[in-house]
Amino acid sequence: MIEDDEILQMYIEESLEHLSDIESDLLTIEGDGENIDIDIVNNVFRAAHSIKGGAGFMGLTTIKGLAHSLENVLDLIRNRELVPTPNRISVLLKGFDKLENLMNDIQASNDEDVSEYIEALANITTSSENGDEEQLEIEIKETEIIESEDITTDDESQSNNSFFLNITLADGRVFPAVSQYSVDQAKEDGRFIYLVEYDLIKDIHNKNKNPTEIFDSLEKTGAIIDSRIDFDSVGTLESNQLFSTIPFQMLFTSILEPDMTTTLFDLEEEYIHVISDDMLSISNETDEVSGMKAMPQKIVVATKPLDSAKITKHVVKSEPKIKAKIQPAPGKKSEPILESETMEHTNEIDNDSINSMNMSSKPMGSLRVNVNLLDTLMNLAGELVLSRNQLIQGINSSNAKATELSSQRIDMITSELQEAIMRTRMQPIANVFNKFTRVVRDLSQELGKSIDLIIEGKEVELDKTIIEAINDPLTHLVRNSVDHGIELPNVRESAGKKPTGKIVLKAFHDAGQVNIMISDDGKGLDPDKIATAAVKKGLMSEQQVSELSTKEKIDLILLPGFSTAERVTDVSGRGVGMDVVVTNLEKLGGIIEIESKTGKGTDIQIKLPLTLAIIPSQIISVGNEKYAIPQVNLDELLRIPASQVKDRIEKVGDADVVRLRGNLLPLLNLAQVLGIKKSFVHPENGLEYPDKRESIADRRSNRVDLNGNSESDNDSFKEDRTGQDRRYRAASAINIAVVSAGVHKYGLVVDELKDSEEIVVKPLGRHLKKCSGYAGATIMGDGKVALILDVSNLAQMAELTTMAEAERTAKAARAAEEARDKAKDKASLLLFKNGPEHCAAPLNLVERIERIPVSSIERVSGKKVVQYRGGALPLYELSQVANVSKLPETEQQEIIVFTVKGRELGLMVTPPVDAVEIALDIDDSTLKQIGINGSMIIDGHTTLLVDIFDIVKSLNPSWFEDEKLAAADMQESGQKVILFAEDSAFFRNQVKGFMTDEGYRVITAEDGEIAWNILKERHNEIDLVVTDLEMPNMDGFELTAKIKKDPALSHFNVIALTSLASDAHVKRGKEVGIDEYEIKLDRENLMKLIRRYLNM
């Protein structure tokens, strides 16, 4: 056996890595069934192959034998000669498991018996060769180290298969026990078979090569069937040429012709033998035993006396150091000898030291680190040394500047170093997750269940220690899900579920924690049964249980003691050792949450906290204390100046909300949640007073409370209220840290926002475990302790009081906001320019847009006209009525033709002319003047909304004489009253204007609800209802429906005003009883309608 520890170690690590990949690949292969993905099979094949190759090189015969058998089966699968049935895959999996076993105890591997596995695998190969496709019942017992008698019997059974060949070379040397199958395969494919002899010393060691390199390069041109070290040719201890050569024989198949091989192998021709049929002979029983089985024994026999002799010698000399070096050599069998002899010779060596030596040969405990990362670490260490030197120099020479500079550098290097070191420890959770595919598969097969395992978030990285520690609890939970969660297929079907159950394993980052979810769609937990069981076990009294909520009942399974009795399978089964899971997770500072719906499934969420890390965080303060908010929870910082507090912070119900970019964000006052007595420093006298504001938005006013007393805190400071109000000082701005944790997103109101710092999380003592608002504590630069806030728990704590309210109201407010947005009138506008100004007019009033040559414009009696469609079209420009720029002189003139009072008129404008459909948000005060309704921002331009009626009215008052008369009439005959509901102030004023112009009295309402209330109270005076359709609180449809349903009001006619009347709208309107539709701002038609309905 090769005793070079380093190479062996490398081999073991590599092999274990291969093995871990193999498992998931095999399961994929199984899942694919007949439609094998050749790449995956090749992956597994290659992995098995390199394990075999290495094993041959290391003299690990058992491993080699097993890997070889595995490879044979895989080859068949690869060539589609064998369908990877679950049974076959099981055999393969067990084989690979055994291989892993052997790897983990490499020293004893050669003494292990794997014949059962080899046999099972051989059965698969032979069954396929015989064309015998029937399923083989293959049972593999867990292996024990068996006695030598067993070996013979096993070998006998194995030899019956007789598919091993011996290769006899010309010089009489024999390469034993080559798989006949591989040879046949090679021959079939027309490949040449070479026996290549490398000398490990001359060809590999002396040429500075590495066996794996050779394997790799050879694999590119062919395949290695088998390899071994020809121990017989090594020479004996007696001969003088000890270790002059170590021939390493390799059976290689390739399509390359024999004349190319010297270059390929980089060897003299004499070491390359082309194998012909006559060199092959069927291996007989004894040969095989010598090849596959006897060899390890031989080695053991050979090494045993040697080792024990050495050990004895060293023990006598009491040189434990040297002994430790020898220790890896003997296998398990030699151990008793060592111990007994040790005892005889000396008392100094105790079992502990032996154990520790054994430990040292254990292959685990190392970690692969990216070389780049190591380089980074090295560089950083170098920089650190340099900076330290500078710092020392700076301090010695009292050079403040140099000291400061180097402290800055050290600061930088430290954080980089810290990050780099953290990175070396991070490992993807896939390392844990991947094995569950196998766990679920095996267990479900065993239990006769059909389960799909879905794994998400494999890439989530966790600290190595956590990865290692969550393995067991997770396995337990997954097993539980399979065992007790998912029902049998027939049960599932009768419950109306898919026969195949589903388990989802998911990892994700959230709220600064790594969350792991294990969800199944099984039968879930039955809280009542759990409660009963808990009572039965005496964990709780009947009384106590009856007071528990459903969730609390489910949580009972986490109680220690719940599971100690026999498995509670009648209670949905879970709970076996759940308390152990909880304890393990708690050690990591993690928590577990169970949610279960009877019949639907169970979700188990594990939250692993940030305690192992150094975390960046935002320092804030409330009262006199500083607190840290983990940066991961922090979305943004918000400072609301005192002057805006009133506008932006509102009180909805009991809760405060802040307006943030159009959304309402619930606010949480940290002082309130934590119950800190708020205080403020009086700006004038510097003394501290308790802050008595009840709500954040409270601004002082002489409110009178219920008892009729004026607020007391007002009295005490009244004198200070002269001059600038203290409330509007910079200090009274409100600081908000916008945080999010899980579903919660809220603003945390704090006194001060401080720096952002990297903090080291330290746990809080046990007396503070119940304070769930903290994730731990840290030590600040000044040496004081600051508590780290647990943002999600804070939200939960507050939920009992204000949070739920805040969220609910915020939601309601959001909904209202949305409704408001929706209700905001959309209108089609025609955009144009009047010289430099941007203008717009309602599109529905526009008849046409024309372009005419300026020369065709005539001046007739002071008015501009153009001949148009056989008539004279009067032309106006905006500057005639409104105070706007005059149009520039051009050759072509754009004209918008409007129809007003049945007559057409043209408005001269400047192009471009464009139509848009936008929500109207009109400022009807700033730029309002004659002919201009108001202004709004369209595409970033302040746009004047042109009032065509106003223009016409002021230019051609005669056109409106009819209305005047009608209005005057009405004044005499009794004014008609119109109830007009409209949420947009602009439209309300506009339309109201139209109506009053014509002599109607108008009662306006801001929304449907107000209109409804007015109508109920004053229906006697009202003659007609005109309503907008989209309004908050109660829309036009609802209002109409209510009116039409109320017997006292159903006689009212309802005219609906809309900006966009779609067919669906019209239909819905007709259903609820809307009498007529009209488009907003179509003044003429609206007035016509109103007149018609009022019988005028």
């Binding site: 046990r766 119940k770 504590a777 600051a786 508590l787």
Partner: protein, 153 residues
């Protein structure tokens, strides 16, 4: 701190334990000096809102977060009165350091086994379950505190 050092003569611990004694309210209490990590008068604590009322706060003890308990409150008496003589006794318990704030530190005395009697149900207003026993001296009665019992939350 007035303290009298009594040399350990090597007799078995049970019969000759050194007790650090201190006042909680009017009661003179003692704990095994070996369970004490240190005694300090660092009261630069950070208060922990929402903590149980007997928690004074948390303290940075050379990089370690130590919870300081008001021993008076913890034992069911009134709060320790702020005083120049106040001290924190830092004890180790279940792998963590916990500070006990006491009114004042008194002497270190040697507890002789035969002078220790079982605790009565009440010592100067303190519940008997907190005590391992009482020791009578010429001038006073020292309640020997059962630290684990006291620290139970």
């Amino acid at each position: 701190m007035a303290s009298k050092i009594v040399k350990n003569t090597g007799t078995p611990l049970e019969s000759n334990t050194e007790l650090a004694t201190f006042y909680v309210g009017k009661a003179l209490c003692g704990i095994d000096i070996l369970s004490i990590q240190e005694i300090n008068k660092n009261f630069d604590v950070t208060t922990v809102p929402q903590a149980p009322d007997y928690v004074v706060g948390v303290l940075n003890l050379r990089g370690r977060i130590v919870t300081i308990l008001d021993l008076g409150k913890k034992l069911g008496l009134s709060q320790i009165e702020k005083d120049k003589r106040n001290r924190n006794i830092i004890v180790r318990s279940q792998d963590e350091h916990i500070g006990l704030m006491v009114d004042a530190i008194s002497d270190v005395v040697t507890a002789e086994k035969d002078r220790i009697e079982p605790a009565p149900s009440n010592i100067s207003g303190l519940k008997g379950r907190f005590f391992k026993g009482v020791m009578k001296t010429k001038t006073s009665l020292i309640g020997i505190l059962d630290i684990e019992e006291v620290l139970k939350d």
